[in-house]
């Protein structure tokens, strides 16, 4: 399988690469660090940060991808957030919208709550779970080259992709997007749907 000889990736570098020239990409983030990571690239009306409801990022991405089959949808979340609702991979695995990509930034700890180890550091492979749930394109990414290939693929909308990206367990500067959920929802819909958002 994968080897561990590469230096671990920097989370901000990974997210900046994924969101580079985002075109018509719709983004959902899980709570905590991935919210700050996406905000650090630049606040965007078509990035919906799930500030709470731990575990709901992947399913929010699923509902959005099903509703907008012509737009690429990217979920950026953490290993802890995904583990909170691991069964969602089974639900996504039987739907497999072609326009959905889930990227898990895996630092093997709960960075926001004091660095307790997550299950991924003890041998749980999220990519293997995703593959066993029927997501054929599920893999562990360890290099920026892997991330750049992934960034190109998520715009092709050919299949559901699940990427477990191994990152360093370092804290990056806090960059907050707006917190008001109603504002975040309404601006997302206004940007995506135009006048239809208010009907």
């Amino acid at each position: 399988m994968e080897n561990n000889t590469h230096p671990l990736l920097d989370r901000r570098e990974v997210v900046a690469a994924l969101l580079h020239e985002r075109k018509d990409l719709l983004v959902v983030t899980g709570l905590g660090s991935t919210v700050w990571d996406c905000a650090a690239v630049g606040d965007h009306p078509l990035t919906f940060p799930v500030w709470g409801a731990m575990g709901a990022a992947s399913t929010t991405g699923l509902g959005l991808a099903l509703a907008q089959p012509d737009r690429p949808v990217l979920v950026v979340t953490g290993d802890g957030e995904l583990l909170m609702q691991l069964g969602a991979l089974a639900t996504i695995g039987i739907q497999r919208p072609r326009n959905l990509t889930i990227c898990v930034l895996d630092n093997e700890i709960y960075l926001e709550t004091g660095g307790q180890p997550t299950h991924t550091g003890s041998g749980v492979s999220l990519a293997a779970v995703a593959a066993a749930c029927g997501i054929e394109s599920a893999f562990i990414a360890r290099t920026m080259a892997d991330v750049h290939v992934l960034q190109g693929r998520l715009h092709t909308k050919q299949e559901t992709i699940f990427a477990q990206i191994k990152i360093a367990a370092t804290r990056a500067p806090l960059v907050m997007p707006p917190r008001d959920g109603s504002h975040l929802k309404d601006r997302f819909r206004a940007e995506l749907l135009g006048e239809l958002a208010y009907q």
């Binding site: 409801a53 575990g55 929010t60 609702q85």
Partner: protein
């Protein structure tokens, strides 16, 4: 007398967890979905919703998502609305307790939603384990600030659903519709 024999046979079928085909109020709920332009329906397996689930799956204009647990449905319906689609989430009362923290997503963002719940632990419940959550279901919605609409008359199913959709997509709220166990029937395991 033949009617009561038939009723008993139907009770036995229901006791085995088979969908009760004799009750047609789920058709009214299905019609309300179509009338209100619902595009996505998420569900967990449920005897009370069995007929409705079958109808939704058979309708290729609807995107149906089978969930492994009710919490997943909260994310899916939020994502659907972000993407411009109306939806409905079907569950049993036991699942409402599972969802309480996830309701924050709907509440904090004022997502409109219609959550259609078949009650257990309520009217003639035979299994003690179903009663605590069944009795707490309404409270869970109220704790999180969601309005509740009760449905206890099969004849009023369609207008009850219409009221819920108006409050959700007109009033901008997440609404819980509680379908009384009286309309579904309580399993007695032929005892």
């Amino acid at each position: 007398m033949e009617g009561s024999v038939k009723d008993k046979a139907q009770d036995a079928v229901r006791d085995l967890g088979m969908p009760d085909e004799t009750k047609t109020w789920p058709d009214d709920i299905y019609r309300s979905f179509k009338k209100n332009n619902v595009r996505q329906v998420c569900y967990v397996p449920d005897g009370g919703h069995a007929r409705l689930i079958s109808q939704c799956i058979a309708d290729h204009e609807l995107i149906t998502t089978s969930l492994t647990t009710e919490e997943e449905g909260i994310g899916v319906i939020a994502g659907a609305w972000l993407g411009g689609q109306r939806s409905a989430l079907l569950m049993q009362s036991s699942g409402v307790g599972n969802c309480v923290n996830l309701f924050s997503l709907l509440a904090a963002c004022t997502f409109p939603a219609v959550i259609v719940v078949t009650m257990r632990g309520q009217w003639g419940e035979y299994v003690p384990w179903q009663i605590p959550m069944g009795q707490a279901t309404r409270g869970c919605f109220e704790l999180m600030g969601f309005p509740i609409i009760e449905m206890d008359d099969a004849k009023a199913a369609e207008e009850t659903m219409q009221a819920a959709f108006q409050m959700a997509y007109g009033g901008g709220k997440s609404v819980g519709v509680l379908i009384s166990q009286r309309m579904i029937g309580a399993k007695t395991f032929s005892k």
